[in-house]
C-alpha cells in the first residue's frame, strides 16, 4: 500500500476499528514512512485535544438531584402528613392551632346562626330551658283567659293568643326577657310533646314588649291563603314555624315536625 492507501484508513486505525491484517499493514507502513507517521501523530494529537475539550464539561451537581427528585414517587397526602405534620415536636403547636381553628369556626357558625335570626335562637333556647326545668312556666293554667290576664297584668297590654286545635292542651305561660324585651311564651302539650308558642308581638302595637322577626329569611309555604314560614331550629331536633296574624307575629317552636305543627293551628 502506498501513502494514499494508508491514509484512507487513518481514522479507523486510530479508532481501533481495523482488522488484524490491515492493522499490521498500517503499522508496517508507518515504520517505514516518516511523513505518514508524522501525519498520524498529528491526527492522534487532534483526536486527544478534541476529547480533552469535550470531556472538560461536567454536569452540574444539582442535575442528578433534580432527575432523582422528578422520578421519585410523589407521596400521597397521608404520607406527607405523617412525615411533616405528625412529628412529636410539631404535634403540640398543631393541636393548639387546630383547637383555635375549631373554636373560631364554631364561634362564627354560632354567630352567623345568631345573626341569621337571633330572636328565634333565643326563643328556642328559652323553650329548651323551660323543658329542662320540667316545664315550669311563670304561670300554670289551662285557661286562655287567665293567661291573657297574666300577660295583661305583667305588661299592661292585651296579648291575643292564636287559635289552636282542641286536642292541644294549654299548660302555662312565661314572660322571659329576650334581647332586653319581655316576650310572651305560651306552652302547650300535644301527644305529650311540649310546644312553646312564642308570641312575637308587633313592637308597633306593643312598644317595649315584643320584637320583630324577619320571616323573609325562612322558607315560605303557602297554605289555605296563609303564608307560613318554616325553619330548622338551632339544636337540629326542633322545628320552627312562623306566621303573621292580626298584626302580630307568632312563632311556634316544637320537637314536632313542621307538618304536625301546621295541623295544630286551627286556621291552617
Amino acid at each position: 500500500m502506498n501513502c494514499n492507501d494508508i491514509r484512507k484508513y487513518f481514522y479507523a486505525f486510530i479508532d481501533n476499528e481495523l482488522d488484524v491484517e490491515k492493522n499490521i499493514e498500517i503499522l508496517a507502513h508507518l515504520d517505514m514512512c516518516y511523513e505518514c507517521s508524522q501525519k498520524i501523530e498529528e491526527e492522534r494529537l487532534l483526536h486527544k485535544r478534541v476529547k480533552e475539550t469535550v470531556c472538560m464539561v461536567k454536569a452540574p451537581a444539582y442535575l442528578e438531584h433534580n432527575i432523582l427528585k422528578s422520578v421519585a414517587k410523589k407521596p400521597n397526602f397521608f404520607t406527607l402528613l405523617k412525615e411533616n405534620l405528625l412529628l412529636k415536636s410539631r404535634l403540640l403547636p398543631l393541636t393548639a392551632i387546630a383547637t383555635v381553628v375549631i373554636i373560631a369556626v364554631s364561634f362564627f357558625v354560632i354567630q352567623s346562626n345568631l345573626k341569621k335570626n337571633d330572636a328565634l335562637y333565643l326563643a328556642e333556647s328559652e323553650f329548651h330551658n323551660y323543658l329542662k326545668e320540667n316545664l315550669d312556666p311563670d304561670i300554670r293554667s289551662q285557661s286562655v283567659k287567665s293567661i291573657v290576664e297574666y300577660f295583661q297584668n305583667q305588661t299592661g297590654l292585651s296579648v291575643p293568643l292564636p287559635v289552636i286545635k282542641e286536642d292541644v292542651q294549654l299548660v302555662g305561660a312565661a314572660l322571659p326577657r329576650i334581647k332586653g324585651v319581655q316576650v310572651p311564651l305560651i306552652f302547650y302539650m300535644h301527644d305529650e310533646t311540649p310546644i312553646a308558642l312564642f308570641v312575637v308581638c308587633n313592637s308597633d302595637s306593643l312598644p317595649g314588649y315584643g320584637i320583630n322577626i324577619d320571616f323573609s329569611r325562612m322558607k315560605g309555604v303557602s297554605k289555605d291563603n296563609m303564608m307560613l314560614y318554616t325553619d330548622t331550629g338551632y339544636c337540629g331536633s326542633c322545628q320552627i314555624i312562623g306566621w303573621k296574624e292580626a298584626g302580630n307575629e307568632y312563632v311556634m317552636i316544637s320537637n314536632l315536625n313542621s307538618d304536625k305543627m301546621m295541623r295544630i293551628l286551627t286556621k291552617v
Binding site: 481514522y11 475539550t53 469535550v54 422520578v71
Partner: protein
C-alpha cells in the same frame, strides 16, 4: 448499586454531548433530564439492558432529533450516505490531503477554538465525532445509536474530522499570525 445509580454514572458523558448538540446549558439539562426520565420509565418494565452507556446515548440522540432538531428543520446533511463503499468514496480526498496542513501547530489551539469548531459542524458530523472521539464508542455501537449503516458512520466520522481539522487549522493559523 441500584440500576438507576449505574445509569447515573453516565450523566457527565450525556451532559457534555448534550451541550454540544443543543449548544445551550438549559436545553442540555432538559435534554439529559428527559433522557433519564425515559430510561427510568423503561427500567420499570424490567427489560434487560446490555450496554447501558450506548443505550442512554441512543435515547439522547433520539430525543435530540425529535425535540430539538426538528424545530430547526435542518435538511439532511449527508448527501453521500447512500454510498456503497466508504473507502472508495474518500480516495480522492485522501490524495488531496497529502499536500495539506502539515506544519500547522495545533498546540496554538485554545479550548474555545475546539469548542467553536465542533459547534460549527453540521449536527450529523458533530454527533459522529462526539460519539467516536469523545465517548469512544465503536463504529458498530455508533451505527446502532444513530441508526445508520456503518459505512455512513465512517463517512460522517471521516468527513467530520476533516472539516474539524480544517477549521482548527484556520484558527491555529490565525492565532499564529496574531502572535507574530
Amino acid at each position: 448499586m441500584s440500576q438507576k445509580d449505574s445509569l447515573l454514572i453516565h450523566i457527565d458523558a450525556l451532559y457534555r454531548s448534550a451541550i454540544y448538540l443543543v449548544k445551550n446549558e438549559n436545553n442540555a439539562e432538559d435534554l439529559v433530564q428527559e433522557v433519564y426520565l425515559r430510561a427510568f420509565k423503561f427500567l420499570q418494565e424490567d427489560k434487560e439492558i446490555s450496554n447501558e452507556k450506548a443505550w442512554l446515548f441512543k435515547i439522547l440522540i433520539n430525543t435530540f432529533i425529535n425535540q430539538y432538531r426538528k424545530d430547526k428543520r435542518e435538511p439532511s446533511l449527508v448527501d453521500f450516505d447512500t454510498i456503497e463503499s466508504f473507502y472508495g468514496s474518500i480516495e480522492e480526498e485522501a490524495m488531496v490531503s497529502t499536500t495539506a496542513e502539515n506544519e500547522v501547530g495545533l498546540d496554538k489551539l485554545q479550548d474555545d477554538d475546539v469548542k467553536k469548531a465542533l459547534e460549527e459542524l453540521p449536527d450529523d458530523f458533530r454527533m459522529a465525532i462526539l460519539l467516536s472521539t469523545a465517548e469512544g464508542f465503536s463504529y458498530k455501537e455508533i451505527s446502532d445509536i444513530v441508526k445508520c449503516p456503518i459505512g455512513t458512520v465512517m463517512s460522517r466520522i471521516y468527513r467530520g474530522r476533516r472539516m474539524l481539522k480544517e477549521k482548527l487549522t484556520n484558527y491555529a493559523k490565525k492565532h499564529g499570525y496574531e502572535r507574530e
